[in-house]
C-alpha cells in the first residue's frame, strides 16, 4: 500500500472516531448545563419582574419547551452547521467562538512554546552539566511550579512585573487607552502576552522538565549510547545527535496532550488577565447559563482535542520511524 493510501485511511479512521466523541460531548454538555440549577433568564432580563414577565421571556427564548424537544432542535441545527444564537451576546455562537479562538490560540501556542523550551532546555542543561546542585534545583522548582495554582502565580506576576516594577501591562490583549496599528500594535500585543503566557507555561515547563530529564537520563544509559562513546564521539555530540532525538518522543506526546487544552483555553488564566479568549467566554457563558454558547464551545473544544491528539500522533510517527500510523 502506498504511503498516501495509508495516510488517507488513517485520516478517515480518525474522523470516524471523532464523530461519536463530539456527539457524546455535545449530549453530555447539553444535559449537564440544562440540568444544573440556575436559569439564564434572571441574568439576561434582570431582577424584580413579575411572574408573567419571566414566563414571556422564557417563551421568547424557547426555554419553555420540553428538554428533549430543545435537544432535538439543537442537534438538527448543529448538523446543518448552525451552532445557534447566544442569549447573552445576541449574536451567532460560531462567530463568537471564532472571534475568541484567535486570542486563545495565540496565548496557548505562546505558552506551549515557552513551556516546552524552558522545560526541555532545563533538562538538557542538567544532563549536559551533570551538576547535582542544578538537578536538585530543577526537581525542586518543577514540583513547586507544578503545584502552584495559576491564579496564584498569575497574581504574583501581576504584582511584581506590572504593579511594582511597571514593566508590563496587567490585563487585556492590547492597550485600551489608544488605538495602535502596525508594529506598535504587534509590540503592544506581545507585551500583553508575556504575563499570561508565563503563567500558563510554568506548570507545563515543570512537567516537561521532569519527563525530559527522566527520558534523557534513561537514554544516556542505553547500549547504543555507550557504543557511540566507544566510536570516539564527544559527549555533546552524543547528547545532541542521539540522546535528545530519542528523548523527544515522550515529550512530544506530552506536548500533544497539553496542546489540546489550549483551545479550551485556560479559563482561569484568561479570566485573571482579562484575555479575550475561548476560556473566558466559556466561564462567562456558564455563569450566565448561556446554553447555546456553552454547548457550542464544548463542541469546538472536543473537536480540537481530537484534532490535536491526531496531530501529536502524526508528529511522533515522524520523529520515530519505528512508530507507524495505523
Amino acid at each position: 500500500m502506498t504511503a498516501d493510501a495509508t495516510m488517507m485511511r488513517w485520516v478517515l479512521g480518525r474522523l470516524l472516531v471523532a464523530m461519536p466523541v463530539v456527539l457524546g460531548v455535545t449530549t453530555l454538555t447539553f444535559a449537564l448545563i440544562h440540568l444544573a440549577p440556575g436559569d439564564p433568564i434572571y441574568l439576561l432580563a434582570g431582577d424584580g419582574g413579575s411572574p408573567a414577565y419571566y414566563e414571556d421571556m422564557r417563551a421568547k427564548y424557547g426555554l419553555d419547551r420540553p428538554l428533549l424537544e430543545q435537544f432535538l432542535r439543537y442537534i438538527r441545527a448543529v448538523a446543518m452547521g448552525d451552532l445557534g444564537y447566544s442569549f447573552m451576546f445576541q449574536s451567532p455562537v460560531l462567530r463568537l467562538l471564532l472571534d475568541h479562538a484567535a486570542a486563545s490560540l495565540l496565548l496557548g501556542f505562546a505558552a506551549l512554546a515557552l513551556g516546552s523550551t524552558i522545560g526541555f532546555g532545563a533538562a538538557v542543561l542538567c544532563v549536559i552539566t551533570q551538576s547535582r546542585v542544578l538537578d536538585a534545583v530543577l526537581r525542586g522548582s518543577a514540583t513547586l511550579a507544578y503545584a502552584a495554582p495559576v491564579f496564584w502565580t498569575g497574581q504574583i506576576f501581576i504584582l511584581i512585573a506590572a504593579v511594582k516594577l511597571g514593566w508590563l501591562p496587567v490585563g487585556g490583549i492590547s492597550t485600551a487607552r489608544e488605538t495602535l496599528d502596525g508594529a506598535d500594535w504587534l509590540l503592544d500585543v506581545a507585551r500583553h502576552l508575556v504575563l499570561p503566557a508565563m503563567t500558563l507555561a510554568l506548570p507545563l515547563a515543570a512537567v516537561i522538565a521532569r519527563v525530559s530529564r527522566a527520558s534523557l537520563i534513561e537514554g544516556m544509559g542505553e547500549a547504543y549510547v555507550l557504543a557511540t562513546y566507544a566510536r570516539g564521539l564527544s559527549r555533546l555530540r552524543v547528547i545532541g545527535r542521539h540522546v535528545i532525538p530519542n528523548a523527544l518522543v515522550p515529550v512530544t506526546a506530552l506536548i500533544g496532550q497539553h496542546a489540546a487544552d489550549i483551545v479550551a483555553g485556560a479559563a482561569l488564566t484568561e479570566a485573571l488577565f482579562g484575555w479575550p479568549g475561548v476560556g473566558y467566554l466559556v466561564l462567562h457563558a456558564s455563569l450566565h447559563r448561556d446554553y447555546p454558547l456553552v454547548t457550542g464551545a464544548f463542541i469546538l473544544i472536543s473537536t480540537s482535542v481530537v484534532l490535536f491528539n491526531a496531530l501529536s500522533d502524526a508528529a511522533i510517527a515522524w520523529l520515530d520511524p519505528r512508530i507507524r500510523l495505523q
Binding site: 444544573a36 440549577p37 440556575g38 436559569d39 434572571y42 432580563a45 434582570g46 431582577d47 424584580g48 419582574g49 413579575s50 411572574p51 414577565y53 419571566y54 447566544s86 442569549f87 447573552m88 451576546f89 445576541q90 449574536s91 463568537l96 475568541h100 501556542f109 505562546a110 526541555f120 506590572a162 504593579v163 511597571g166 508590563l168 501591562p169 490585563g171 487585556g172 492597550t175 485600551a176 487607552r177 489608544e178 504587534l186 509590540l187 503592544d188 506581545a190 507585551r191 502576552l193 508575556v194 545532541g240 545527535r241 535528545i244 523527544l248 479570566a271 485573571l272 488577565f273 482579562g274 479575550p276 479568549g277 473566558y280 467566554l281 466561564l283 462567562h284 455563569l287 450566565h288 520523529l319
Partner: protein, 530 residues
C-alpha cells in the same frame, strides 16, 4: 534528521519586551491630544438595549449613551433631563411632560414624544422587569398631543413616578431605529443609537467597548472627555492592579482587602457611593424562610436577630463599606428612614432566653437546631462569621455554597431553603425597591421578590397607601409605620446599609456616582504634578 528546538519568533518579542527600554513608557498615560477615560467593567454587557433589561453589566455602559425623561440629583430628587419641565395633575394620576426641543439622536434624527410613547409601550412595559412589574396596569395610556409633549395617564394617583423615569429605570430609545426590529436581538441592539453624552463606536466581546464624545449633546460643554473605553476585566484583583498601574482610570467596586492599599496611593481617590447602574441605596439582607419552621416562629426570628453582631460583620466581612442596618429602609434614603423602631442589639443572653421561650431547648451537645445558609461563593466569609456567632446561641449553621445563578434559583424560585441572602436595592424611592420585598402580592417563583414568603395585609395596605400620595411628608408617615411594624415582626434580618467604594485615578475628576450616567461630567483634573 536533526531535531532541535525551533526558534519561536514570539520568544524574541518577549525578550525584547522584557528589556525595560522597549517598554518603559507605554503603560504610563502620556498627554494625548484626545482624552480617554478607561473604565473597568466586570463582565460583558451583551446586547445593548437598556429599555429591555436591568442587567448590571448592560446599564453601566448604556447609561452613558442614553437619557431618561428625568435625571436625579445627589439627594435622588428628580431634575430635568429629556423633559425640561412637567406638571402633575389629578392628584398624581396624570403627568404632563414638556420635552426639550434641541435633542437629536446620535444618527441626527430629532427626538420627539413619539419616541417616549414607543419606549414605554413597546419596550419598558414589555421587557424591563422592574418597570413592567410596577407600571403594568397602572400606566394606562400615553398621549402625544404634539411632538414635544407626552402625557402619562395612570389608573390611580401614584406618587413615585418621577423617580422611576431616570436613565437606569427608563432609558428612552429611538422609535425610528427599532421599528420593525426585535427589541431584544435586532440590529439596533448591536449598534445602539441614543441621545446621551457618548455615542457608540465599537464592541469586542471579552475585550472592550469604545464610546466617543457626542459633539451634539444637548447639555452644552459636556461630556468632558473625548473617548470612553470600557475594558472588560472579570477578575476584581486584576482590575485593582490595572488601576494602580494606570491602565484603567476608574473601577466601580473596590474589594475590601484592597481598600487600605488604594487609599495609601497618592494617585488614586477612593470614594463612597450609594448608587449607580447596579441599583442604588442597597442593603444586604438575610432571608429566612418564614413559611416553615424554625423561622415561622417570631421568638426564633427575634432571637436570631439578637444573635447577630452586625458591627463585627460590617467591620470584618464588609471592610466598613457601609453601616449596620437598623431596619428595612437604608439610612441613605433619608427622607423615608427612621431608626426609631424596635432594635436588636447583639445580646446572646436575650437570644438564649427567647429561644427557650420559643420551645427550642439545647440538647446534650448544647445545640438547639440547625439551619442551612444557602449563599453564593463570594459570601463565604460571611457564612463563616455567621456560623460562629450563631453557635454561641446554640444554632448550628450549615453552609451551602453555590454559584450566583444557582443560589438565586434555590432561594427565590424553588424556595427550598432555610436562610438565604440578597442585596436588595431600595432605589430612589421605597416604592421601587422596598415594596417588592415585603408585599404578599410579590411572593412568587421569581428572583428578588418577597423571598421570605412574608404575608401581612396591614403591610400590603400601607405600601399601597404610601404609593398613592404625591406629598413626601405624607408619604413619610406611611413609611414610618411600615418600618415600625416590620421591625416588630423581623421577616428579614437587615445586615448592612451598603455604601460601596469606588476608586478613580486623580488625573480625572467630576464623577457623578449617584446616577447611572456617571461619566457625563468627568473631565481631566487640573494638573497637580502627578
Amino acid at each position: 534528521m536533526n531535531p532541535r528546538p525551533a526558534p519561536h519568533l514570539w520568544i524574541v518579542a518577549v525578550v525584547i519586551c522584557l528589556s525595560p527600554a522597549a517598554c518603559s513608557d507605554a503603560s504610563r498615560p502620556t498627554t494625548p491630544a484626545t482624552t480617554t477615560l478607561v473604565v473597568s467593567q466586570g463582565g460583558d454587557p451583551g446586547a445593548l438595549n437598556p429599555a429591555v433589561t436591568t442587567s448590571g453589566n448592560t446599564h453601566p455602559v448604556t447609561d452613558q449613551m442614553f437619557n431618561g425623561l428625568v435625571g436625579l440629583d445627589e439627594q435622588l430628587n428628580p431634575i430635568p433631563e429629556l423633559a425640561e419641565r412637567w406638571e402633575i395633575e389629578d392628584n398624581g394620576a396624570t403627568y404632563r411632560f414638556h420635552l426639550r426641543r434641541d435633542v437629536r439622536w446620535h444618527d441626527g434624527e430629532t427626538f420627539t414624544s413619539a419616541d417616549v410613547k414607543f419606549t414605554f409601550e413597546e419596550a419598558l412595559l414589555k421587557y424591563h422587569s422592574r418597570t413592567r412589574a410596577a407600571l403594568e396596569g397602572l400606566l394606562t395610556r400615553i398621549d402625544t398631543p404634539d411632538p414635544h409633549t407626552a402625557v402619562m395617564h395612570l389608573a390611580r394617583p401614584y406618587g413615585p413616578l418621577l423617580q422611576r423615569l431616570d436613565v437606569v429605570e427608563a432609558s428612552i430609545i429611538p422609535k425610528h431605529q427599532y421599528a420593525g426590529h426585535d427589541l431584544l436581538s435586532g440590529e439596533p441592539t448591536r449598534r445602539p443609537i441614543g441621545t446621551g453624552p457618548f455615542r457608540f463606536v465599537g464592541y469586542t466581546p471579552g475585550d472592550r467597548l469604545v464610546l466617543e464624545r457626542n459633539p451634539d449633546y444637548f447639555r452644552q460643554g459636556l461630556p468632558g472627555v473625548d473617548r470612553l473605553v470600557f475594558r472588560i476585566l472579570p477578575n476584581p484583583v486584576t482590575a485593582v492592579a490595572a488601576l494602580e498601574n494606570g491602565e484603567v482610570d476608574y473601577i466601580g467596586s473596590v474589594p475590601g482587602p484592597d481598600v487600605a492599599r488604594l487609599r495609601a496611593s497618592p494617585a488614586i481617590a477612593v470614594v463612597p457611593s450609594t448608587g449607580g447602574s447596579g441599583g442604588s441605596v442597597c442593603q444586604d439582607v438575610l432571608i429566612p424562610n418564614v413559611t416553615r419552621p424554625p423561622f415561622n416562629n417570631l421568638h426564633v426570628r427575634r432571637a436570631f436577630a439578637h444573635a447577630l453582631d452586625r458591627r463585627f460583620i460590617v467591620e470584618r466581612v464588609y471592610f466598613n463599606q457601609g453601616q449596620p442596618a437598623t431596619g428595612p429602609i437604608s439610612h441613605l434614603l433619608a427622607w423615608a428612614y427612621t431608626p426609631e423602631v424596635r432594635q436588636y442589639p447583639h445580646d446572646v443572653r436575650n437570644a438564649d432566653r427567647l429561644l427557650d421561650a420559643g420551645g427550642f431547648r439545647r440538647n446534650a451537645n448544647g445545640e438547639r437546631f440547625g439551619v442551612t445558609f444557602t449563599h453564593a461563593s463570594n459570601h463565604h466569609r460571611l457564612g463563616q462569621v455567621l456560623r460562629e456567632q450563631l453557635k454561641a446561641v446554640g444554632i448550628r449553621l450549615d453552609l451551602e455554597v453555590l454559584d450566583f445563578n444557582a443560589q438565586v434559583e434555590k432561594v427565590f424560585v424553588k424556595k427550598s431553603f432555610d436562610l438565604g441572602l440578597a442585596s436588595f436595592c431600595n432605589g430612589a424611592d421605597p416604592e421601587i425597591g422596598v415594596r417588592r420585598v415585603y408585599v404578599s402580592s410579590n411572593i412568587g417563583p421569581f428572583p428578588f421578590s418577597n423571598g421570605a414568603g412574608y404575608r401581612n395585609p396591614r403591610i400590603d395596605a400601607l405600601f399601597d397607601e404610601a404609593a398613592s400620595v404625591v406629598d413626601r411628608a405624607d408619604r413619610r408617615e406611611h413609611y414610618l409605620a411600615i418600618q415600625r411594624l416590620l421591625a416588630e415582626e423581623v421577616p428579614y434580618f437587615w445586615l448592612i446599609d451598603s455604601e460601596g467604594l469606588r476608586a478613580h485615578r486623580r488625573a480625572f475628576t467630576g464623577f457623578r456616582l449617584w446616577t447611572g450616567a456617571f461619566a457625563e461630567t468627568v473631565r481631566l483634573a487640573a494638573p497637580t504634578g502627578e
